[in-house]
């Protein structure tokens, strides 16, 4: 599922806003990253999917840990 499509499947229960794809900052092991992710257009609540967390994010974590 693309990010846009993913964003459309959710709404923010905190503020009732829609989700759009925005740049989200992450940090780990002294490294900073920016990733395009769905997040609430209103309050900025971010969505990290299972696929991302157990896939690309986990891979990146492992690489950084062994650096």
């Amino acid at each position: 599922m693309g990010q846009q499509e993913e964003a459309k499947s959710w709404s923010c229960a905190a503020c009732g806003g829609e989700l759009g794809v925005v740049k989200v900052g992450f940090t780990y092991m002294k490294g900073n990253f920016e990733v395009d992710l769905p997040a609430c257009k209103g309050c900025g609540l971010v969505l990290v999917s299972e696929e991302l967390a157990t896939g690309k994010m986990a891979d990146a974590e492992r690489i950084l840990e062994d650096k």
Partner: protein, 806 residues
Amino acid sequence: MDQENLREWESKCIQEEPPECTAACPIHVDARLFVKEMGQGDVEAAFKVLAKTMPFPGILGRICDHPCELRCKRGEVEAPIAIGLLERHCVEHAAGKNRIQLLSRRSQRVAVIGGGFAGLCAAWDLLKKGFLVTVFERSDRLGGMLWELPESLLPREVIDEELAVLTTLKAEVRLGISLDGEAFEDICREFDALFIDREGVAGCALPLGRDDRGEITTDPATGATDREGVYAGGVTRMSGAWSPVNEVLQGRKGALSIERFVQRAQMVAGRENEGPFATRLFTSIAGIEQDPRVIPADAGAGFTDDEARAEAGRCIQCECMECVKVCLYLERYDGYPKKYARQVFNNERVIFGAAHTKNQFVNSCSTCGLCETVCPNDFYMGDLCLQARRTLVEQKLMPASFHEFALQDMAHSGGERFALCRHEPGKNESAWLYFPSCQLCATSPAEVLSSYRYLRDKLSGGVGIMLGCCGAPAYWAGRDDLFRETLETLRQEWGGMGRPRVVTACATCRSLFLEHLPEMESVPIWQVLEEAGLPRTTCAASGTTVAVADPCITRHDPETRESVRRIAGALGIAIDEFLLSGGKPECCGYGGLMFNANPKLAKEVIDHRTRAEMPPPAKPFVQPGGWYRTARQEGTDTAYYRTGVSDHDYLAYCAMCRDRLAAAGKRASHLVELLFPAVEGGDPAGRGWISWSERRANRAKVKEAILRELGEKGEVTMAEHEGITLFMTDEVRRRIDERRILEEDIRQVIHQAEQSGKRLKNLQAGSYLACHQPENVTFWVDYTPVENGFTVHNAYCHRMKIVGVK
């Protein structure tokens, strides 16, 4: 690790030591590589291997007397590899020419007196070293005894062709020289150094020291005669001991001495292994089947191409790899301890702080010690890895993810939900102190309580109880501070109890106590039960056969291993021993916190122990490459020894072994479950896996039960989220457990989301998704509120911190 430590580590691992053939060869030809290339049919590559070490390979390759074959390991199985015949085939068929790499030219002049094979080899080496060489020969041609060999073996044109190299290298050759004392003195004056071929000057009256037989005497280590700058080598025809490869050695030895002499360098330093020597390489020939030597159909003509290839294919490509063969961890990183020690050193020192590429490696070892047991030199990777972990912790470079979950579990065991130290109910002194261990309480709470009651019945003087963790996770994580602190707490509590004898139910606890708290006398529960008498029980496994899965920590504890077997026998259980039994138990993947630092490897390890694997082929393949390594490439998953697999139920006496075996789908029980069954007539081996959350709850149950008996109330502070009820399927429960997410973490996420309202709604499913980051990990839970609680559909986590939307 400093340089000196590295050298110590490196010297213990002998994998890189030369094989017997190379060590037996006077000039150390890499016969193993040569034969490997021949086995692959690459004659040109094989020739290059010979030419790297051999002078006049076209000659020596044909006539070498191959002392290498006498020490070939294949010869211990049936017949050695025919290295000599293979060399002959190679030099007869290779198109490759002698390409000699010359070092820079030197101005010094060296005379070689006598153009026999030793003299010519000295000339070859001296020319390569850049000296100006003049060869003096009495007869009208160079080569001496080479001309007397059968032409079928060494064709005359080969001698001419090979010796022509001397001219190419601009050696001056003076033939028909008469050598008397006067001529010798002239040569000595004219040249910076001399090499004398003994046969080449046989019968000449040269003013040099001689032995009773009239042979020129030399220093065996250097070839030096009694005259400065004059070196000699080779044997005379009269001695009857002419060996081509020994002539080469003698010529080479003289050439090296001459180089050192003119450079005024240390004459003997670093020459210990000149000539044949004893190698430290160990190569097991266990499991290698007989494979008869290939006999050339036409003996006079030597091997055909096919025969050469088949003969070379018999080579077992000697190497040690004993530890790698039995350890999936060592195998998966594609090296061996010596290489690993260098990598760990580089990780720590050379590229300090820049690229710690071995972090996961040093944290993946189970520290089980099997490597040390099978290593001919007792190389213990665990020690190397634990030291490296401590260094990473000191340097503040240890990634938290490698041990955090285990250390949190340890903190739970040392915290208010579990830790306890009390005298027996109704007594105020303890002659004994039961330490059932945090993990056994987590696995088998009812059995622990029942065993405690039994110990109280059987032992006099009061049996106190101590619940807590021995500190093993901290020890494995390189957290010396935390480990010491844990031990100190235990030591003080034990002191407060009047220094009773400690009864341990976990072999890891006992092993750490023995080593780090030597003042604390401890005894395994199995021994106590044997002495006090076993409980009368109907054992579920009675009449069956089990395989005893010894925990790796009992490697050096044969008493415990035997004690467990005796108890099993007394319970009417027959025992099927694993191939690697006795002092060679494997780890379950929990040890050393492998499960935490490298869950993928830990899973492979336990899968290997619970599923039948293809054993390695006992016979090497025709394509050599190390019989073990080739076997590995051929294997579907792993080709390391079929060690720990039995079709019978497993009987463990370590809680983690039991749980990991059970989680991998193997029927496995713990001995305590057989001795003190929670359910009469139950099936402990059928209990299956236990989640991390359940483990914590079980520990708490043990503490609560003991406090109840003591009439005490536990002072446990309940957080608000703890009251949340969760519903989930077994599949979800298993998945989140494998992701090391506790139900406690899920409750916190839901509590937080429900309180703050910060959650996302899935428009199709109607469920909520929320996250919470209590410490380093961010947990995500997909859930739906239902009556009386929450249904959990999924949970996952990551360690990257969300900074926020840009």
